[in-house]
Structures are given as C-alpha cells and as structure tokens.
Symmetry: C2
C-alpha cells in the first residue's frame, strides 16, 4: 500500500513548519516511509525542505537525501557543513555515498571525506571514487558478505553476523580463497539447511557469474537480466573480489537508458525532466531544433532549384510537406526498430538480409499508401492521371529509400561505437526531408518532363 501525499497534508506540514512545531511534525512523519517524505520535500519551498531535513534523524535523512529530486538535493547539500554531510554519508551504503560525494565541489569532497567517522567506510568510499561512474566499478558497493572457502558453517554464521551489521540486505554470500580471489557463492538456503560443522568447500557453488570493474553499466544490466541475477560480484583484473552490484541499481540503469533513448528519439539530448528550468530544457532541446532548422533550410533550397516547374505544376509544390512527412515517419519507424534491436541485443543475420527485408516491407506498405493517394488526388483534387501517378510513384520511391536510410544509419553508427539512438528523431526526419524532396522532384522531372 502506498501513501499518497495530499494537498491537505502539504498544507498541514507547511503550517506546522511556519509555527516551528517540531514535535507535531515528527509525530506526523513518524509512520511515513522515507521515499514519501522525500516526495513531500520535493513539493515544499526550499527553506521549508531544509528545515524539515535538519529536524530528522540522520538514519532517515540519509535515505531521504538519496530519493530527493536533483535540484532539491543540491539546495539542501549547499546548506550543510562538511561535517553534517559526512554524518549523512556515514549512514549510507558506500555506493550511495559515492553518488552523493560526486555531486560536491572538489574542495568540499576532500573536506567531507576527512570528516567521515568510520575509517573503513571512508577507505571504501575513496576506493569507489576512483571508478568511472558508467562502469561496474561506479555502480558497485563494498557492502557484501564474504566467507573463506576453508571455514565451516558455524564460523560462517558468526562471521556473517558480524559482517551483516554493515550490510542492509544479504543477497549472496561470496566465497573467496586466501588471496581473496572469487571462488563461488554460498546459497543462504544451503547455509541455513546445513549442519554447523560442514565445510564451506563442500557446500559452496563453484559457478558464479561476475563482472570486471571496468565493464560498462549497460553491459552489466544486460548480463544480470539475461542470467536473471539479483546481485553480481565485481572482480578486479586478478579476479579478486572488490564489490557487488544489486538489481535495484540495475533497474535505475535500465530506466535511465530507456529514458535516454526515448528522449533522443524525440530530439532531446541530456537527461531532462518536465520540472527542470527553462534554461536546462533549452540546452537539451534547442540544438536539435537548430539542426532541424538548418536541415529543413537545405530541403527548402533543394525544392527551390525546381522552381521553374511551379507555374505549370503548382500541385506538385502543395505535396512537398506530405512527401517530407511520410519520409520522416517511415524513417523513424525503421530506425526505432533497429535501435531497439541493438539495445536488446536481438539483431541477428546479415545487413544485406535486413536491408532486403526492410525494402520489401516499405515497398509493400508504400504501394498501398500510394494507391490510396492516387485515388485521393484524382477524385478529391481533380489532378490529372499523370500528376497523380507521378506523386504516387514518388511516394513509393521516397518511402523505400527513407526506410533504408533509417535501417542503415543506426547499424552504421553502432558499428563505429556511436550511440545509434542519435539516428532517430530530428536527425532522421531532417535528412529524410532533404533526400525525400530531392527524389520527389527528380522523379516528377523525369515523368512530367520539365
């Protein structure tokens, strides 16, 4: 069951905050999940949110900090001292602490680290800060349970009790040798169902999937999904166990990747949200619009080179937006399917076969559309048969070529290590505008002979 923040609730909190009624506030928030308090704070004025934040216990406030919207968190962090931030970080898992530290300025970073109370925790955080945030190293946490292959179940349970104090959720128990090299894992089930004198060596599962510290985050996500894993250990170059990644971090990676692809397809670069500032949104949107404007301008220039035909074949020029739109639509469809196929790793077979299939598909679809258009123009607009035939033929040609471009470009980009998602959206619609209009008028020129 989820708690829904009502307007009344926000008003109540606001009035309690302005009355500085600490006790009533704490009482009101007592049974509310930190994720809901974070949502509430996102809605409050920043002074109120800051006041509320300082009121809460660091055990809860540290969780809230991780759930807040970026801007709200930034504001709150800017009002905390290095010592206060360190107190929050002391409560967090290392991977989360690193995410927060990464948002701080360079000097603040060092100050905060020096204020951390738990030395082990600080050491782990400093280690994690070394890794690129888009790799397994950047995702992993140091909170995991590790047992030596030579221990018995009793020692394991005692050690796990000790280690578990720092680990909020026990996922897997990793088995290492004396050099801390990853050997396998121990299932919790086997542990609680084995006798206490059993040796780890005899019950551990020697097969365990792992990733290297420098594996890309999207690759980690793919592997964890494929093998249906809830946690995966991370090893360094010498196979030493150095961290673990859990599925909830992967859920974020998957969502971010999907959001990014979606925004790219819509012509929005960078990760923006509806509630970001106009300036942030402009930065994400204007470059694509600029590109589209320049591309369209080229398309206009192309059509202008055929302006001699305008006197005699007016109708041809009315249809340019339709041709351009259809080229764009079919191009986006084709590229979206390829981009998704690449993302899901489900593209198989040769490029030639793929292009042939796409050609057949678009030939089939565009012919149906061309016949409809042919009747539409002839009967509704009373164009000559010759003109209707010209527009229809051009539509087929333009759509086939646009769909081939839409198929080819993302595959090509991906081959050269460029994110194929760039190829969707304004990029493909605009380049298809240019090609489409050129092909359209060229075909018209051949058939109508101007």
């Amino acid at each position: 069951m989820e708690f829904k923040i009502s307007k009344e609730f926000i008003t109540e909190i606001e009035s309690l905050i302005s009355a500085k009624n600490e006790q009533a506030i704490l009482q009101l928030l007592e049974d509310i999940h930190f994720a809901d308090i974070a949502e509430l704070m996102n809605e409050l004025k920043s002074v109120d949110a800051g006041y509320l934040f300082k009121l809460l216990d660091s055990e809860i406030s540290s969780e809230i900090l991780l759930e807040l919207d970026d801007e709200v968190r930034e504001k709150i962090l800017s009002e905390l001292s290095a010592k206060e931030i360190a107190e929050e970080l002391d409560e967090m898992d290392t991977d989360d602490a690193v995410d927060i530290i990464a948002e701080l300025s360079e000097e603040m970073k060092d100050e905060v680290i020096s204020e951390l109370e738990d030395f082990e925790h600080a050491k782990d955080i400093v280690e994690l800060l070394r890794y690129d945030e888009d790799t397994a190293g950047g995702l992993m946490a140091k909170e995991y349970i590790q047992v030596n292959e030579n221990w018995n179940v009793l020692t394991c349970i005692q050690e796990i009790r000790k280690q578990a104090e720092n680990v909020s959720r026990v996922h897997s128990i990793y088995v290492v040798d004396d050099e801390e090299r990853l050997k396998g894992r121990l299932s919790l089930k086997d542990l609680i169902t084995s006798s206490t004198t059993t040796k780890v060596l005899d019950i551990y599962i020697p097969k365990v999937d792992s990733v290297k510290v420098d594996t890309e985050d999207t690759e980690v996500a793919r592997i964890m999904q494929k093998y249906d894993l809830e946690a995966i250990p991370v090893v360094d170059e010498t196979n030493r166990l150095v961290g673990r990644i859990t599925i909830d971090d992967i859920v974020d990676v998957i969502k971010e990747e999907a959001d990014r692809d979606y925004q790219m397809a819509a012509g929005i670069s960078q990760d923006v949200e509806a509630d970001d500032s106009i300036w942030e949104l402009t930065k994400a949107r204007l470059p694509w619009l600029m590109l589209a404007l320049i591309g369209s301008f080229v398309a206009v220039s192309v059509s202008q080179t055929f302006s001699d035909a305008m006197e005699e074949y007016k109708i041809l020029f009315f249809f340019t937006p339709l041709i351009a739109a259809m080229a764009g639509n079919v191009g986006v469809q084709s590229s979206a399917i390829i981009v998704q196929g690449i993302a899901n790793n489900s593209l198989t077979g040769s490029l030639f076969k793929r292009l042939t299939k796409e050609m057949l598909l678009s030939l089939f679809n565009s012919t149906i559309l061309a016949v409809i258009l042919l009747f539409g123009t002839h009967f509704l607009m009373e164009t000559t048969y010759e003109m209707s035939f010209t527009i229809g033929t051009a539509l087929v040609m333009v759509m086939v070529i646009a769909s081939l471009i839409g198929t080819f470009v993302p595959i090509l980009l991906n081959k050269y290590g460029i994110d194929p998602a760039i190829a969707t959206g304004p990029f493909i619609t605009t380049s298809n505008d240019i090609f489409g209009i050129f092909i359209y008028f060229s075909i018209a020129k051949i058939i109508l002979g101007f």
Copy 2:
C-alpha cells in the same frame, strides 16, 4: 563473465546434431548456462532446436523454454505432447508456468493441467490463471515462504527448510496470522541472528508494503522502485496473503513499458521486433502511416486554399515543409517530456503553470531560430525583408502553438484514462502539420495581405 556464442560453436553443434551424437552434444553443453543455450537455440533451424530441446534434462529445458524467443518457443511447444509440456511446467515456478500455459490453445491448456504431477502445483497454477496478466495477480508466484506469528524461531527454521524446497530464492519471509492475513515480514538477518526460542511475534517487522491482486503491473513496478523493494507480497481483498512478486519480473515490466512507449513515439503499435515477419511489422506500422498520410493530405488541402498567393509569393510555398517540420519537431519534444513525466509520476503543479512554462520556453527557442532563419532567408535567398519577417513570425507562432498542443494533448489523454504515449509520434507531427500550415498561411495573409 558471459559466454559468447560464436559461429564456430553453432557450426559444431549443428554438425553434432546432424550426426545425432547425443553424448558429445550433452558434454559440450554441460557447463553452459541455460540462458546461453536458449540463445543458441534461437539461432538454430527449428528441427535442430527441437532435437536439442528433447535431449536435455527437463530441469534445464524448462529454464530454456522461458528464455527462448517467442516464435522458437511456439514451434517447440507445438511439437510437444500435453504430457511433455506438463513435465516442463512441473519444474517451473508457478508464475512462469502460467505464462507458458497462457500461450497454449484452450483444449491444450486443460489437457496440460490434467497432466501435471504435483497436485498443489497444479492447484496454484489454476488459481493464478484466473488473474488478468497485466495485474499483480498475473505477475505473482505462489512460491514464497510464510510463517505464523505464533511460531518460534526453531519452528520457523524447520518450516522454512520444508517450504524452501519449492522456492528457488528466499526473498522475504512473510508473517501471517491464523487466518493467513499478512501481518508483516521477518528479516533473514534477524532470523539467523536470533536465538531459537524467540517468538516470531517478538522479532517480526510489522510494517510491510504489499499490493492488491488487482493492482496494475505498471503501478506495482512504480511502487517497488519507489520503495526500493526486491520482492512484494500480494494480498486479496481481505488482506490474505496470496502471492509474491519479485524484482526480476518487474524489470521485465519496466522494459516492456519503456519499449512500448518508445515504439509508440516512433509510430509503431504492438510489441514488434526487428526479426518479426513482414506481415507482423506491417500490422504494427501501416495504420500509423495511413493516419499520417490522411493527415498530411488534409495539410495539403489547407495549403491549397491559399494557392491564389502562389503567383506573387512563390517563396512562401517553398517554406511549407520547413514550417511543418519545425512544428512536428517541437511538438514531439514537448509531448515526449510530458509522457515521460506522467510515466515517472513526476509531473507536479497545475496545467496552467505547465502551459505557461512551455509557452515561454518555446517562445524563447523559436525566437532564436526565427532570427537565424530571418538572416538565412534574407542573405542566402535574397527574399525581401517583408517576406523574411513573415516567415520568421510565422515560425514563432507555429512553434509556440505546436508545443502547447504537444503539452496539452498527452495530459488530456491521461486524464481520460488513455495512454498518453499515443500522442507522440505520427499523431502529434501530423496534427501539427495541419495546424502549422494553416497558421503559417494565415499569418502570411495578414502580413503580406493577399
């Protein structure tokens, strides 16, 4: 570490299959993860895949069945008897078994169920089949661990050992009362760190998030993400515990939803993949192209009503594709941000404020673009100042209105319970084509006076 299926490996398997060398095949596949074998089978000819499938132990083949591509699975299932399918299902968790059964024909369904060996398992499957697949009931499994609040830790551990035989991964231990109503959960950590005589009542955590059987799957995904849960119990109307959902099922829901939204934005309905048949792809793509064609045809008719101006203001007509393209681009940007905001539940504030913001944003962006265009047309195309001014002004107006439509329509659709993702893609570009062209010529008519 991931196993990569090489071409050589496939060739090797193929030749072993044609030689019917069972032993060598089994030896070769022995250390390979079922997810990899499934990938291999997706690549094989269907007779070969079928042969391989029957060769494998049902413990592994049942896992493979779940990982196969839909078409491959369908073929393999069609070649199995009801008894053989039942054997596979006997190895699966109830939620997975239900997914497979749902793909069978009605008669086959009943036959397979009657062939299931484990009566409890069959009963659970039949129960799960009752629920809509897009709800918590459709996602949940019956494999979970449940203890009575009146037991002590020792009884718990004994019971868990018994129940754990059917549960592949122990997530949470749910605590129920004598009426099987969900009371809370027991943490594994607390269980293994408490003395055996402790009562469950004294150590269980009384707060536990749960969802109702009829909660929508995307809502379950949202709740589990928000509260960072790896498993969530499902209760019926009387709060009786009836199942549990794990995060790996939710990962699929999230991915499917993101894929669907992405495809919608690209004008592709239904869930298709690059490797689907031309007929499947046509069904998903042609309707949107048809809609776009009809819409563009209307846009053409609109521009035709202004044809009297063509003699004097040729240049105006060259620019219609540019105006239409920019209207489409900005409309898609605006709607994508709103659709994503709705999906992430992050839209706050009033509609009026949102429209005002979008208006300011697009006014700002389009003015910059209009100034560029003004210089571009005047200096590169040598249009009159009056004409450049007309096109620039129209661009601003068209873009502002297109972005407002892009913002308003998805919010409106969502309010009436229609998937707002429909509003992106061809729908928004086409309707913006029509509005855009009309506004463009209307403004030109006012300024230029034709």
